[in-house]
Symmetry: C2
Subunit: 231 residues, 2 copies
């Protein structure tokens, strides 16, 4: 048992951070309430759109992100998990503004790839247009060749599907997301990283994919659980 | 759109409060993140066991509940929802200790019964031994005849099933919970109130029951959504 309290900066989107809390709970080998990870979740969907901001079309989310971090600091949290890949575009600015460690979602995804026996080679990446444009994964994932959807596939499949999940139309998101993942697999990706926390929610709404994937919600929850247990 | 922020005092159990966040999100007619209910969840399973305390076998959860409420007050919340029926045994003490309104889960359940067209008559109630002993529903639900499992059924079916959910063995909880609900229905209950927030999680793990039920997680989420929208 650990006295650590996890801070979760969520709401981006709200269903993804709620699912993060479910995933964290389900992955904890607890027999009673008192053995689960104490956590504070700030689920504030009013954080300005990360995708629009990074693509130069909207206000910065950083002030709202820092307001959430202040709440987590004040509540006694010992580390922060952010179940939104795109928000990690502001990882350095957030880290500089808080003494708390922030668990990086790309590191969590990398740990999951390694746990699946994948230490190199070609992997597919699906995410928001901003996550791809910022090269969040390509810059931090060493040793892999990262392939991504092209601009037309983003516009026709991935971006609309992410918006469907944010609008609670999860089942409708399955077909475009599963189809895009299959295209990346067909192009030689050994595994596909579901690098936007809405994507695993859509993928969970239909049959499991017949190739390895990295669920970044579940991977970040595992990283949070490892932090809670301590070294 | 509302500027209100919902406070959620959770962790009792952790899976129930995570599912409350999912239910709140899914029931919100939002098209994008920014249209969802802003919420802060304190999920601290270390709150002393409510059942043991009410049955005279453990320390009071009240100090821990009030610590959670202080966090929600400090974070700017405008009301508090507590997705744990048994914790409502301390409702008056919590209400006296905070200026924030607390949305009562029994009122939420009553609203759901009315929405299902049930305004009087016999209803079944499943909950923890403490919820039943405190007569939380019987004292607050006017106009219904409330029937409950007997002591042997609590010991053999309901209490072990609630513990299974808290230990993440949700699928195994289905049979005893569904069986108990069917017994109450056979005894003339027009509807069965799933009056412990672990119970709807177990019931969701199998086929839907062929009679009306009140899911107190979903009902409390609807009450929270109604509060957020305002009068």
């Amino acid at each position: 048992m650990s006295d650590r309290v996890l801070g979760v900066l969520g709401g981006m989107g709200p269903l993804a951070s709620a699912e993060f809390m479910c995933s964290l709970t389900r992955q904890t080998p607890a027999l009673r309430d008192q053995e689960h990870v104490p956590a504070i979740l700030v689920s504030d969907g009013r954080v300005p759109d990360r995708n629009a901001a990074r693509l130069g079309q909207g206000e910065s989310p950083l002030p709202a992100l820092l307001r959430g971090i202040r709440i987590l600091e004040g509540a006694g949290c010992g580390a922060i998990a952010i179940p939104c890949n795109t928000a990690h575009g502001w990882f350095d600015a957030m880290s500089a503004a808080t003494p708390l460690p922030i668990l990086h979602i790309v590191d969590a995804a990398a740990a999951d790839l390694r746990a699946q026996g994948l230490r190199q080679g070609r992997i597919g990446l699906m995410g928001t247009a901003a996550t791809l444009a910022m090269r969040l994964y390509q810059e931090r994932l060493a040793g892999y060749e990262v392939i991504t959807p092209d601009a037309a596939e983003m516009a026709e499949l991935v971006t609309p599907a992410i918006e469907l999940v944010k609008a609670n139309q999860v089942a409708a998101a399955y077909a475009p997301l599963a189809g895009m993942a299959a295209r990346l697999h067909a192009r030689g990706a050994q595994a596909v990283v579901l690098g936007c926390t809405e994507i695993p929610l859509g993928i969970a709404a239909g049959p499991a994919l017949p190739f390895p994937v990295v669920d970044t919600v579940a991977a970040l929850a595992r990283a949070a659980l490892a932090w809670w247990r301590g070294p």
